[in-house]
């Protein structure tokens, strides 16, 4: 049952062939069986999940009209507040905190009858690309347990890839949905900035953060996207417009007559050979489906990484100031006579990991007087240039494409002491965040040299998210017919039979 797609599960639920309780229990059993190896979850809320499942079964029995994925279980990145359920953002500084409120995404999931099974592991405060920066230990890639699943939403991606959940929610500030989706062989979408409410999403970088869906297919991802998105008056940056018709697009994948732009700057040198090969093949598939492939030039993308690693740390240095041991979370050093100031400093030292501290210090520097214009100010101008590059490129193409990540999954510990090497892994995903547009990663096959998944990235203009699904669904269908079976069927078995 757990190997089905979310759409199939929803169908079985609608037809009364199974119940949400049964389905949820099957996934909880799977989590119990394999999560000891994968470590995708920080907290499994079995009781809460089964209670939600029972409730949605009752609602269905009473004839209530339910959402398309009502009763389907889901894994939630621990960056989203869920009332009464431990929420840590992967940080020791929030250990044991139970929010007294629901994030808007969680409210929407609950309203839609989606069953939230638990909170997934992540790089602390979403800062990282490997989930190794979690305060609670790393998550392991189901394809190879010695490798990272990518990050920061590594727990969510691994959970879906390991059949612990058919759907998961992640967040993407510089590629944190798309890159782990690529590294674990699943689909992940970062919606247009402002399309999904950030209310209750623990902020890393406010102008870049966006929650989004993971699924094993393009359609599953669209089904979750539709439930999560929509205007929220509690988020001043939320877009007040109808949700793009992503499910329809996913059901009618077609690229005939579409122009697909390949970004010159996001391929070639620096990209693993197997990654580039699968990417080039996918382009050929799209061309064979009737798309016109054009090359576009985005010269300022060369500076995107530098701009990102100024903007995100700057915003985070301010966003994370609230973790001060006064109102919630960890408090250390509160010995007799210690001052509030000393307790704050001691707690922030003990509670934050190295990468978080590194970015807070970098951001503090970039915003400090005398350096603001040179660093933060310049980065914001680069951002303008990147937006202009995209505008020009979208004048020539309906969607833009690139490999999602320069490499396949790397070994745990491989880059942990080399922040710059780690940062380079985000080079292809970051421009989307800086421009506030939308992007998808879907599997393009396995790299020849290591038999690990390769991600294909599609980018579309703001609030044209349906284009991602239209192109993604077409490519997915064509590749599936080439492969004969879903890519995840090639992953090694975990902890016993699947």
């Amino acid at each position: 049952m757990i190997q089905q797609t979310a759409a199939q599960m929803a169908d079985a639920l609608a037809k009364g062939e199974t119940t949400s309780v049964e389905l949820t229990q099957a996934h909880l059993d799977r989590i119990a069986a394999v999560d000891g190896q994968v470590k995708a979850f920080l907290h499994v809320d079995s009781e809460g999940a089964l209670a939600q499942a029972r409730e949605v079964d009752t609602r269905r029995k009473s004839g209530e009209k339910l959402s398309a994925i009502a009763g389907v279980p889901l894994a939630l990145k621990d960056v989203l507040a869920q009332k009464g359920v431990p929420t840590t953002a992967g940080s020791k500084i929030l250990q044991g905190w139970r929010p007294p409120y629901d994030s808007t995404v969680v409210s929407k999931l609950k309203d839609a009858g989606v069953v939230i099974m638990g909170k997934t592991n992540m790089d602390e405060f979403a800062m990282g690309s490997s989930t190794e920066n979690s305060g609670y230990g790393p998550t392991f890639n189901p394809w190879d347990l010695t490798r990272t699943p990518g990050g920061s939403s590594g727990g969510s991606a691994a959970a879906v890839s390991a059949f612990e959940a058919p759907l998961a929610v992640g967040s993407d500030t510089g590629g944190s949905i798309r890159q782990p989706a690529a590294l674990t062989g699943i689909v992940g979408v970062r919606p247009t900035y402002g399309a999904v409410s950030r209310f209750g999403l623990i902020a890393y970088s406010s102008s870049l953060d966006q929650a989004g869906p993971f699924g094993r297919t393009v359609l599953d991802t669209a089904l979750l996207h539709e439930v999560m998105a929509g205007h929220d008056p509690k988020d001043a940056t939320s877009i007040n417009a109808p949700v793009p018709a992503v499910v329809n697009a996913a059901k009618s994948g077609n690229v005939k007559g579409m122009k697909i732009g390949v970004i010159k700057q996001l391929q070639g040198e620096g990209y693993q050979k197997g990654v580039q090969t699968r990417f080039d093949e996918s382009l050929k598939v799209l061309a064979s489906l009737g798309a016109e492939i054009v090359e576009v030039d985005c010269p300022s993308f060369e500076y995107a990484l530098a701009a990102y690693y100024l903007i995100a740390p700057s915003e985070c240095s301010s966003n994370l100031a609230r973790f001060d041991a006064m109102r919630y979370g960890l408090r250390t050093g509160d010995v007799d006579g210690a001052s509030a100031e000393a307790v704050m400093s001691a707690t922030r030292d003990a509670g934050f990991g190295r990468e978080v501290k590194r970015r807070i210090i970098l951001g503090t520097y970039a915003l400090s007087s005398g350096y603001y214009d040179a660093y933060y100010g310049s980065a914001q101008k680069i951002r303008t240039l990147i937006i202009q590059d995209y505008a020009k490129a979208f004048g020539k193409a309906d969607v833009l494409v690139s490999p999602t990540a320069p490499t396949t999954a790397y070994k745990i510990g491989e880059k942990v002491d080399d922040p710059m090497a780690m940062y380079l892994g985000d080079v292809a995903t970051i421009p989307v965040n800086l421009a506030g547009i939308c992007g998808m990663s879907l599997p393009a096959g396995l790299a020849d040299e290591d038999n690990l998944p390769v991600g294909f990235q599609i980018m579309a203009p703001a609030m044209q998210d349906q284009r991602l699904y239209q192109v993604g669904a077409a490519l997915e269908a064509a590749l599936l017919s080439q492969w004969g079976a879903p890519i995840l069927s090639k992953a090694p078995a975990l902890g016993g039979a699947k």
Partner: protein
């Protein structure tokens, strides 16, 4: 060395001022969340994920707060920025949950205005124009209670208790440009400026402007330069100046303190000082280890404010008359003596008297009621006049009843009591209590005859031409008629009765 006298200070030094006034707006909900703003609520009952800065919470600005700020800007003759943004001011402090304050930095919503003030001096009235640098929006902090150590002060406390009800209440900061040229009247002009601001804000109905509750707070920057010099001296910034009188005292005190230092060849330290109401002196704040670097940057959770010309002009059209002009106008229209005018302003009854006059009451009568009997009752009950249940309509009705001869002043006072006690409108109180002027000559004559018989000796004196003796008889008649007679009428009939009419 003895402190220089104020006259010695101004003989040598020229003060330069800068005033920053913080005003709490009286919006129903907070600046960035929907929590209530009620003063004096139980601790932490008006808080939510946003104003407690729980992880994940986001601010959304209060539209009314923007509107009120634009109104303030317009009333202070400011330009309204077509594009303005919120910025984060980053510093750590336990009363500020986010550890940054959402404020405005280089893009304030209002800028370049002025306020004209006038003071009375021995040399006659003097005017001065205080120029406004900017008016911007921000949010208030929570309140801390310091426990242990000396009397609730922060120094020496064992620990502190935090209540975030006030955190996030909308604040507007009004900053003057540097104000040179006030000369020896610097303290008076500063006080007049804050008073004028208070009146303007009250007229706009955007704030409670209660200095004692902290809804209007003033920080005063003072520096001295030698008379004739263009070089500014080092300034001190005095906080906690929480009454009009304190504004004047704090500035005068700082001028003297600076002059003493400078006369001794010492330097004034650029620092924050705290005004102490009890001594009228300022004390030095604890100096910081290093200069703060607030790392301002545009708040990415909030979007720019770009008020349209239509919106601004719509607001401009609702601006009330400038308080100083209005006072001048009312003083003339009502022919009020200076002293009485001042009494009305001090008692805060100008609005209510005007409302009463607009309902047809005679200005002098209206003023007398509000300033007299009603103020007395308010005083007894320890509430503001405006908080009593009597309305301008009630007083207008009362004045009309007296004018029509249906009530005497004395009876009308009983009616006022009745209205305030909640017995209804004046006509209803009259009916319920059966209050009635005794205008029936027959009934009055009966009372007069009765009194003249009882006090025959006194009556004889009056009959003999000793008119002052009539007072006792009139009093007795009034008593006999339970105060319901018109004293003038009694006098007239009595004198006639005794052959003196």
């Amino acid at each position: 060395m003895a402190l220089p006298t104020y006259d010695e200070v101004i003989a040598q030094w020229d003060p330069v001022l800068g005033l920053e006034v913080h005003v709490e707006l009286n919006t129903k909900s907070k600046m960035f969340c929907s929590c209530a703003t009620e003063f004096g609520a139980e601790p932490n009952t008006q808080t939510c994920p946003v104003c407690l800065a729980l992880p994940g919470a986001l601010p959304v600005v209060n539209e009314k707060a923007i509107e009120s700020t634009i109104l303030i800007g317009l009333a202070l003759n400011c330009k309204i920025a077509p594009y303005s943004r919120f910025a984060r001011k980053n510093y750590f402090y336990p009363d500020m949950p986010k550890n940054f304050q959402i404020s405005q930095y280089d893009e304030p919503i209002c800028f370049d205005g002025y306020v004209d003030v006038e003071i009375d001096t021995e040399e006659g009235p003097k005017q001065f124009r205080i120029e406004i640098e900017r008016v911007h929006m921000e949010e208030d902090t929570g309140k801390s209670l310091h426990v242990g150590g000396a009397t609730g002060r922060i120094h020496g406390a064992d620990y502190s208790l935090l209540d975030y009800n006030r955190a996030g209440i909308p604040l507007v900061e009004i900053v003057t440009k540097i104000v040179p040229g006030t000369g020896k009247y610097a303290p008076e002009f500063a006080k007049a400026y804050v008073a004028e601001l208070r009146d303007i804000l009250r007229g706009l109905k955007v704030s409670d402007v209660k200095m004692e509750q902290g809804s209007l707070r003033c920080d005063a920057n003072v520096s001295l330069k030698p008379i004739g010099s263009d070089v500014l001296g080092t300034r001190s910034e005095t906080k906690n100046v929480n009454s009009l009188r304190s504004v004047e005292r704090a500035i005068r005190g700082e001028m003297i303190r600076h002059a003493e230092l400078l006369n001794d060849g010492k330097k004034v330290k650029q620092e924050t000082r705290h005004f102490q109401e009890d001594t009228g002196l300022t004390r030095s704040g604890r100096s910081k280890e290093q200069a703060e670097d607030y790392r301002y940057f545009p708040d990415p959770d909030l979007v720019p404010v770009t008020p349209s010309a239509t919106w601004i002009e719509g607001l401009r059209a609702t601006l009330p008359e400038r308080p100083s002009l209005r006072r001048k106008r009312l003083k003339e229209e009502w022919s009020v003596p200076d002293k009485e005018m001042q009494a009305m302003i001090n008692a805060d009854v100008l609005d209510i008297v005007e409302a009463t006059v607009l309902l047809g009451a005679d200005p002098t009568k209206a003023r007398t009621w509000w300033l007299g009997e009603i103020s007395r009752i308010a005083n007894d009950q320890n509430v503001a006049v405006a908080d009593l249940s009597i309305t301008p309509a009630d007083v207008a009705e009362l004045v009309a009843l007296v004018a029509a001869g249906e009530l005497t002043d004395k009876l009308a006072r009983q009616v006022v009591e009745g209205v305030i006690a909640g017995e209804g409108k004046p006509s209803e109180v009259v009916a319920k209590r059966g209050i009635k002027v005794v205008n029936d000559d027959g009934a009055l004559m009966a009372a007069i005859e009765k009194v003249c018989t009882e006090q025959a000796e006194t009556a004889e004196k009056v009959r003999g031409g000793h008119l002052p003796a009539a007072g006792a008889l009139i009093g007795a008649v009034m008593k006999e008629t339970k105060g319901q007679a018109d004293a003038a009428k009694v006098r007239e009939l009595l004198l006639k009765h005794l052959g003196q009419g």
